[in-house]
Symmetry: C2
Subunit: 494 residues, 2 copies
């Protein structure tokens, strides 16, 4: 494809994206395809000769689009939102066009410098203490691929610091702390690093939030066993229920009693609420600023910026660099040797990286802080109206109070009979309910398990969701719920 | 930005990319900026109100483009190439527009299925044994972010298998094998995973390639010390010099004597040469097909596909899944439970992932296998003409035979005096030469260190490099070299 062919193809691609967003509301949320549909439709091998773009684009429309689950659909309430904005796309496009890996300053000064500046913009927007700003030259911010990567990076830095402070500790005795509500990447990090993971118990009456007391008791117990907990992954907004650990309480316990324990705060989903001053107390800003060693907020979830944009801040950049710096001759540069620039390759696990800050820059400039705040507030308001519907419903109940833009609820037989339904029966009922709701193509939501209770999650966040979509969702869930209840006389067999 | 504003902004962005490629040849290869240039030019905080796209795009042109090192410049010969093609950009753009994380089949069937198919296309193009194809349902292919990620994933799977076969082995006794020529990600993987790394010595007379004999002696030595080597990272085309380990020889040693040792072949840069039948012997296809447990080829280096597109194949997919599967309730799906689909989240370290296969599909269809081969052959031919120039030169010498599209050479005083120059003097001379060459804005190349010899690397691969650019590079290097030699009478002080 030459430059003029690209101009034409590029315009066409832009037009297709416009068509996509004009028609999105009318598409089924979930792809209506069966496993293997695409392999059956495609040839076994790449073509010998190149094909014209028109053939490729036509196949994209015909074969790929119908196989997409539409995460940008205004009635997508599953998992957590994955952001896609025009500003983000344009950033990705321009980033892709120059293909700068940006692993050190010289490899692309603009990549490094823009990331350093834009992460400070984000830090200011969230009210983070100056020590987390790149400008402080003490801590700093870097854009990682995912929250899993951010957590892995924190764990590696924490392990390195711990082993320097406690030389000779066997790796087998190290323990990563999470809670029973932490995202599965905590356990996965244990698999990846070959380390123990302990999931601390949290309680329903605390809305599944970790307290300092629980942490303290666990550490003392493990110390008695000869184990060495070295990092706690606390969460602001868990995936299951949006639970928010008491960061200040937990942090105070760490500072007072276990200063070798690294505090990583995973606010991958809910951290964007820090942009709104009125939400900072709920989102644990004070605790983060006082105690966190590292923090992760994914702009690519609820932060209007296309994947990948996992913002990761550390209080002390030297702990990262100390853990990860390998500089072979072929990566040495004059400025790197002089230490006058950030070489971001030492801030994450890989070497190569995209020019990710460009899209975040475009988003922050395009929306402005006020536009960003308005979007967050609107999502929370939409979720509140959903939660009000659940509260008023005769067949649904909230399992936990709504958290930011997430509601967790379940179907139940009417109040008079619900007490006689067993947990197993209720779980079976709700599994059937989720399965039935997922066959409705106008909506997508997913289930979770909180302390053995099968619940349904409703996460608001697609940029085009309006109040009408919430109302439609309520109506549809009511219908499916009534149908499930009619089919299964749970708890009323007597 | 609404849909029609995006259409306009998108057309503008496409036009800017066209302008960029029309003007690329006239730009300096390296950014002409000083550290801190961008922070000084940008405000401290994000704007309160959103700004119009025209202001953002104008700043992109004014502030970002001049700070880019132009990896697509036809006179970029540094590091390794980073691919950027129009086909790749269009794939990235459409992928970005739907923002599908694709961590399991349901989250986006098209993402999973296209990746499964396109990785089989690539496997066929490279002549990989059927066991590596997804279609075999035994092994399979997945697109990772980087070669570092691919290697980390291989190491985690290898460690899990080894510890299952040798329960109770302390982590401190495990050893990752690389060679002194392996990319720095090998040592970095040791830092990340907290494991020992041993760099096996390779010899100049073997052109820095690992032999089975060296491996065998090392394993036996380590076993005597109570250590447990569990993975070897062999390389096809090292970063320093393009060295190619003897995969079949090494593999036979492993199979015969140390079957618990995992063989990962890192062909991140040179693996794309497998597309050309006449290069498969050099690129170790037979050894890979017979012995490799895993293989990495980065399409985003020399493979015409924009970052990120690190192709990673395994001989036995269950070893990956076994090492990495965590399935919490909120990620369970009907098809996943039934095992009828690939859930790619269990094939890599993170959960979220881009729809990366789209751009590889566009590239393979746009170029066809023949177009892909033609590009690889052209780069090798250009490099051969550069190597011929070095061979004929009175002031330069090749340090190793050219490897694929990479030449490694150094400046030397003329033949009559070179024997009297010490290694330190020659290294200092070449360090000065690289520094001087890097101040010339018409070219970029980087240095390396092979067994304490400071060398200069010349890597061909930008899609727009023509024979004229090679000739210009030779002329410029000759001038800079002559100037350095005139300034420093190395080895002739007597």
């Amino acid at each position: 494809m030459d430059i003029e062919q690209f101009r034409k193809a590029g315009y066409q691609a832009i037009d297709r994206i416009c068509d996509y967003y004009y028609s999105l509301n009318d598409k089924p949320v979930v792809a209506q395809v069966e496993p293997g549909y695409l392999r059956r439709a495609l040839p076994e091998s790449a073509p010998e000769q190149g094909e014209p773009w028109s053939a490729v684009l036509s196949d994209y429309e015909k074969l790929i689009v119908p196989g997409l689950t539409h995460w940008q659909h205004p009635s997508f309430f599953a998992y957590f939102p994955t952001a896609s904005t025009f500003e983000g796309m344009l950033g990705d496009l321009l980033s892709s066009s120059t293909a700068n890996p940006g692993f050190n300053w010289l490899a692309s000064p603009a990549c490094t410098e823009l990331e350093s500046v834009v992460m400070d913009w984000a830090a200011r927007m969230f009210g983070l203490d100056r020590t987390f700003h790149n400008e402080s030259k003490v801590g700093g911010g870097v854009i990682q691929t995912t929250a899993s990567d951010s957590a892995l990076t924190a764990i590696v830095a924490a392990r390195t610091r711990y082993l320097e402070q406690h030389p000779g500790t066997p790796l087998e005795a190290l323990v990563i702390y999470v809670t029973t509500q932490t995202h599965s990447f905590g356990k996965k990090a244990g698999l990846v690093l070959g380390l123990r993971v302990r999931a601390l118990e949290v309680r329903a009456e605390d809305h599944w939030a970790l307290r300092g007391e629980t942490l303290g008791a666990a550490v003392e117990e493990d110390h008695r066993k000869g184990l060495h907990p070295f990092i706690l992954i606390a969460t602001v907004g868990t995936t299951s229920s949006g639970a928010v650990d008491h960061v200040a309480d937990v942090g105070a316990t760490i500072k007072e009693k276990f200063p070798s324990l690294w505090l990583h705060v995973d606010a991958a989903w809910a951290g964007v609420t820090l942009a709104c001053p009125e939400l900072r107390e709920t989102a644990q800003l004070a605790g983060i600023n006082e105690y966190a060693d590292s923090l992760c907020v994914n702009f690519h979830k609820w932060g209007l910026t296309n994947f990948d944009a996992s913002a990761f801040w550390v209080r002390d950049r030297n702990l990262l660099i100390n853990a990860l710096d390998i500089t072979p001759e072929y990566l040495r540069t004059k400025h790197g040797d002089e230490g006058t620039v950030i070489d971001y390759r030492n801030w994450h696990l890989s070497l190569g990286r995209r020019f990710r800050s460009l899209k975040l820059w475009f988003v922050l400039r395009g929306f402005g802080v006020e536009g960003f705040q308005a979007y967050i507030r609107r999502c929370i308001s939409l979720n509140n109206s959903f939660a009000d519907y659940i509260r008023a419903s005769a067949i649904f109940e909230l399992i936990t109070p709504p958290s930011f833009a997430l509601s967790v609820f379940r179907l139940r037989p009417d109040a008079s009979t619900s007490e006689s339904a067993s947990l197993d029966e209720l779980n079976a009922l709700n599994r059937a309910f989720v399965a039935a709701a997922q066959t409705q193509h106008g909506i997508l939501l997913t289930q979770t398990d909180i302390d053995n209770v099968l619940c349904v999650r409703f996460a608001v966040g697609a940029a085009r969701t309006e109040v009408g979509h919430i109302e439609n969702a309520c109506k549809l869930l009511e219908e499916v719920g009534m149908h499930c209840l009619a089919g299964k006389k749970v708890g009323t067999s007597a």
